[in-house]
């Protein structure tokens, strides 16, 4: 008990020290939850199909991981802008939906004849091309027409629509090709606005090239269109609102970043960045059958 007063004195000293309140120096308290919706961009990753497998690249385009394997031939793959759903297609089978882990979430019934699909900006709707009909899986999107056979001339033969894209506001960007009565192929890109106040327009593809893919950026302002034949491939950027365009690559297959800041192309066994061709991943000599970003 003799030491008790000393202990009490020490205690009092400590109790009294450092009791001032914090003085705000700059912006003061911050609540992240109250920050009005300025979310960082979702991680955008390239997804591609090769050898019956679906792979995903990291955002830096330096590594790949395999999501599913032994899926048979995969003709088409597409990832939504939220990067949480992937659709893939094996010829003759229904479209399958995967998550980015590679787990199969389900399949879309009666889609064995679908030849093209992609995700709408709402991240929930998969629009599909079934013969000449535009179909939707998920919430329906308002578009100017779904029966696309009406766009061909009356006497057209060998009609085909290899790819289509639907912009966030329902405009259609589609590629179509046919044989004229004079036995000449015609291949065009048509943009059909979702309003009568804007006229639709067409772009002619030189040499009636076959379109291989159309990929839209997230806001729908720019489309990457790939076309051509072996030894003569092209990829062009098209300004959807006015049709201005420019060729940017001779790669066989490509995909565009959702914010249009870059594109990825597959050529000579490598998937690489358009901005910096040195950045990329060697994927081997097997054909990449489809890719999306």
């Amino acid at each position: 008990m003799k030491t008790l007063p000393v202990w009490l004195l020490i205690s009092l000293g400590f109790l009294l020290a450092g009791c001032e309140k914090y003085e705000t120096q700059f912006e003061g308290p911050y609540d992240d939850a109250a920050n009005p919706g300025m979310l960082p961009p979702s991680p955008a990753r390239v997804v591609f199909a090769q050898d019956g497998q679906v792979h995903m690249l990291n955002p830096a385009l330096t590594e790949k991981k395999t999501l599913i394997s032994n899926f048979g031939e995969i003709s088409l793959v597409s990832v939504n802008y939220a990067q949480n759903l992937i659709a893939c297609k094996t010829p003759g089978l229904d479209v399958h939906i995967l998550d980015t882990i590679g787990a199969i979430k389900g399949s879309v019934p009666n889609t064995e004849n679908v030849t093209w699909f992609d995700w709408h900006k709402n991240n929930l709707t998969l629009y599909m091309l079934d013969s000449f009909t535009l179909r939707f899986y998920g919430p329906t999107v308002s578009v100017p027409l779904t029966n696309l056979s009406t766009i061909f001339p009356a006497n057209a033969q060998e009609k085909s629509i290899p790819a289509i894209a639907v912009t966030p506001n329902g405009w259609l960007v589609l590629a179509y090709r046919w044989l004229t009565p004079s036995l000449e192929y015609q291949s065009r890109i048509r943009v059909i606005p979702n309003t009568s106040s804007v006229a639709s327009y067409e772009l002619n593809l030189t040499g009636a090239s076959k379109v291989r893919y159309i990929r839209l950026v997230e806001n729908g302002a720019v489309a990457l269109v790939g076309f051509g034949e072996p030894g003569n491939y092209r990829a062009s950027l098209i300004n959807v609102s006015n049709g201005s365009n420019a060729a940017i690559s001779d790669a066989e297959l490509g995909a565009i970043h959702p914010d249009a800041a870059d594109a990825a192309f597959w050529k000579n066994g490598k998937i690489f960045s358009h901005n910096d061709n040195e950045i990329g991943v060697l994927v081997g000599s097997s054909p990449v059958t489809s890719m999306d970003w």
Partner: protein
Amino acid sequence: MRLTLLCLLLLASCALHGQSTGYLGYRYYLKADFGSMISRGPTANNRGLNGLELYGNNKKGSFAMNTQFGLQAGFALSRADVLLAEFSQLNTGLSTVALTPVVNDPATASQFDTHHLFYNVRSRSVGLGYQHFLLKKGSLAPFGSFISFYLNWNFAAGEIIDKRTFYYNSAAPEVHAKFSFEPKVAYASGGIGIGRNFILADRFLLGFEWRLNFPLRLFYLYKGNIQPHPSNRYSRDGAPEYNRKHFENEAFNRLILHNFLYIKIGAGYLLY
């Protein structure tokens, strides 16, 4: 003969009484305590002995104390041993940095805004302890001098109480991306201490203890960060993860420093 038996009986009763557990038979007690030690800073009010580099300015530190409040519930297992459960809470300060991708200017969307943040970090701890009272120094649990050992689980969460953002494009509207992470960290820690409990009037006790705490997640100190390199636009997707890990590392380091050494003073009551 009768006298002999009586003496033996008295001796036996005295011995039995001397061996009974607890001070005057009281084995259970509750104690509220306050812990404090000179802070290298920053404290919750941004004081501390070291020179603080808050917002890029070298501020001279000031004298301040790390503090902690707690509650202990003890049970005397024997004359020398006490088992206890404890809860404590501390508030400390943390000055750190976070990065977010530019969202106010599409032309510079591959760059980062830099945020200097001052957090108040509240750490709550639950734990078990063992105190061994030194019988040779006249102790009788829970009274007298003791050595102690503790095992604690600490759960901390941060709250930003001051912030200064440096926008990559200062001419654009002053909006930035969310940090998009929960500023939390949890870890286990161990403790050792020496102390003394004084018995005041009747059932009241007053306790003092020197307490040393150390983290059990030693490897956590070297946990790597994901570095979003500003020159690589693809890495911006990793910003929330970078911010989370950076906070975890910084908060963890700050907490173990804040928690490292304490003088604890407590007032308690012997229940029964």
